[in-house]
């Protein structure tokens, strides 16, 4: 399997603060990789650079041999990187179905005149969108909530919907920012099953940030550890989690 994402020497400064410095990552196609580290280590900042929210001050990001540095978030999404957010960001006033349909924006298209006049193509394409969106919702067992307002979903389902929406953009690489945050052990267990299911159904490469070590050691194949913006360690979960430096960073001496 080839390399999907190659990050070299990635760094960003906000004024005098060096939030991330010299981050190197190589992620193979189809892998499930974790990015861990104590609070404030720069994990979400790294995600924001990968998705174009921040422009890195130095370093390179290559996805499938194409550079992502300097591209806008919407362009990076079209290149095949989708993400979820630490604090859930759904389209709150739209229905569950419309949340997913909004994410199909670039995969099923029709022009503005069709929108204005509801030409025959409108009905055909909308039907196609409905089917595609329902197919994705079904995998997440959200299809029975299709007409519910997204903000009325229970917390765990909102997390699921965010993942479903990200997958609707048909990504090569899926970035999950603390998917288990605020979940109880049962919900976390369910989430782990969902992530396994996603890998099988969508054949997508996953990079996730997580604090729940049970989840991380349970499903991740490889881990990168960040501390104070720099890379502390990387390796398989058992290697990394038994590394005295990592233990020290998390628990202190």
């Amino acid at each position: 399997m080839g390399v999907l994402l190659e990050v070299k020497n990635l760094g960003i400064s906000f004024g005098g603060l060096r939030a991330v410095d010299g981050l190197n990552m190589t992620i193979n196609e189809g892998a499930l990789v974790g990015l861990i580290g104590p609070n404030g280590a720069g994990k979400t900042t790294a995600f924001n650079m990968l998705t174009g929210v921040y422009r890195p001050t130095d370093g390179t990001i290559m996805l499938d041999g194409k550079s992502l540095v300097g591209k806008k978030p919407a362009e990076i999404c079209q290149e095949g990187v989708a993400r979820t957010f630490q604090n859930i960001r759904l389209f709150t006033q739209m229905s569950v179905l419309d949340n997913v349909k909004a994410a199909l924006h670039n995969s099923i298209k029709y022009n503005l005149a069709t929108s204005f006049l509801h030409l025959p193509a409108y009905f055909a394409k909308e039907k196609e969108m409905d089917e595609e969106a329902l197919k994705i919702l079904k995998i997440f067992e959200l299809d029975s909530f299709a007409d519910t307002n997204a903000s009325n979903l229970p917390y765990g389902k909102q997390r699921k919907l965010e993942i479903a929406r990200a997958l609707a953009t048909n990504p090569k690489l899926l970035l999950l920012d603390e998917p288990a945050a605020g979940m109880n052990p049962n919900e976390t267990k369910e989430l782990m099953d969902t992530i396994e299911l996603i890998r099988k159904e969508f054949k997508v490469t996953i990079l996730l940030i997580e604090h729940d070590m049970k989840l991380v050691s349970g499903i991740c194949e490889y881990l990168y550890v960040l501390n104070f913006g720099t890379e502390l360690a990387h390796g398989t979960p058992s290697e990394v989690l038994n590394d005295p430096r990592v233990v020290k960073a998390y628990l202190g001496e």
């Binding site: 999404c77 993400r83 349909k101 394409k125």
Partner: protein, 322 residues
């Protein structure tokens, strides 16, 4: 099947309204004052529906909508004056409406590109300032007649031409409601709900913001031409920030993101001050009370129960179908 029924109902409503107004006009039941209100009602419906695209669906506060109306009004009406002896009335009016819309849309692009980088309060302030600038420009230009106003505009959009005005209004409503229920409208609503997430799913945020803004400006420009061709005279003072606020009040009272609400609010709020003329001194007082009453109704538990009941019924119907 479900959609078809909705279309038929809406078409029936439009037909009934049209027939009723036509009947009243032809039957001579209406007073002159009421007849003179027919076109303004249609104009304000167009204004509030187009503004609701920006405020209700895009979620950006624009306080300069009357400025776009004035751009359309002046360019369109200048065209009407210039061509009144050359072209047949309908052709001239049709072209004027189109030209007015294009002029307003062009300005929408020019203003929109820098301004839509701003958010919330800042955008509101800039659009407010822009409206005042436009007003001053029309005040000082010779071709627009300055503060005295542009007069001798052919009266081609009064109640006598109700059919034309009504069709134009329906077109605006239809286009906006179609747009909202489409791929493009969904992108606009997604930006309103969470622009960071919208970007993350591949929606080019700036492009759709400008798109919504320009479409609203185009429709405001068309409405402006009708406004001018009904009054016969255009004064810059008609398009000050009070006018923008009035339109905004219609959108807000109609319920953000509800086209039907915008229409109803526009009709009531245009008719109300005129109907209350008899109450002379108490006119503005009653108007203000009516505004407060509408606001209270929008937030009342009564209305909430109604919508909840409707949602429940829909959900039940859906679960039965499944």
């Amino acid at each position: 099947m479900k959609i078809d029924k909705k279309i038929i109902v809406n078409a029936l409503i439009a037909l009934v309204v049209y027939a009723a107004v036509m009947g009243l006009v032809k039957g001579g039941v209406l007073s002159r004052q009421m007849m003179s209100l027919i076109t303004p009602v249609c104009v304000y419906v167009m204004m509030s529906v187009s503004l609701s695209l920006v405020v209700g669906f895009l979620g950006e506060l624009s306080l300069g909508h009357a400025a776009f109306m004035s751009i359309g009004a002046y360019t369109g009406c200048l065209f009407l004056i210039a061509t009144k002896d050359i072209l047949p009335v309908l052709v001239s009016l049709l072209l004027a409406v189109f030209i007015g819309g294009v002029a307003a849309a062009l300005l929408g692009v020019i203003i929109g590109i820098p301004v839509l980088r701003l958010k919330g309060d800042y955008l509101a302030i800039v659009t407010l300032g822009f409206g005042e600038i436009i007003k001053s420009v029309f005040n000082s230009l010779k071709i627009t007649g300055g503060a005295k106003g542009l007069s001798k505009i052919p009266l081609v959009a009064t109640y006598k031409n109700f059919t034309f005005v009504f069709i134009l209004m329906l077109l605006v409503i239809l286009l906006v409601s179609h747009l909202v229920n489409s791929r493009h409208g969904r992108a606009v609503c997604a930006i309103r709900d969470n622009y960071i997430a919208a970007e993350a799913v591949g929606i080019p945020v700036s492009r759709y913001k400008i798109l919504a803004f320009v479409i609203a400006a185009f429709m405001a420009g068309m409405a402006g031409v009708i406004y001018g061709a009904n009054l016969g005279i255009l004064k810059p003072a008609n398009f000050d920030y009070n006018a923008s606020i009035e339109i905004l009040v219609m959108v807000v009272l109609g319920g953000m993101g509800s086209i039907k609400g915008s229409i109803i609010a526009a009709v009531i709020l245009t008719l109300l001050p005129e109907l209350l003329r008899g109450a002379s001194d108490y006119r503005m007082l009653i108007y203000a009370i009516a505004l407060i009453a509408m606001m209270l109704f929008n937030n009342s538990s009564f209305k909430r129960n109604l919508t909840e009941k409707r949602n429940l019924q829909q959900a039940e119907k859906l679960s039965k179908e499944v």
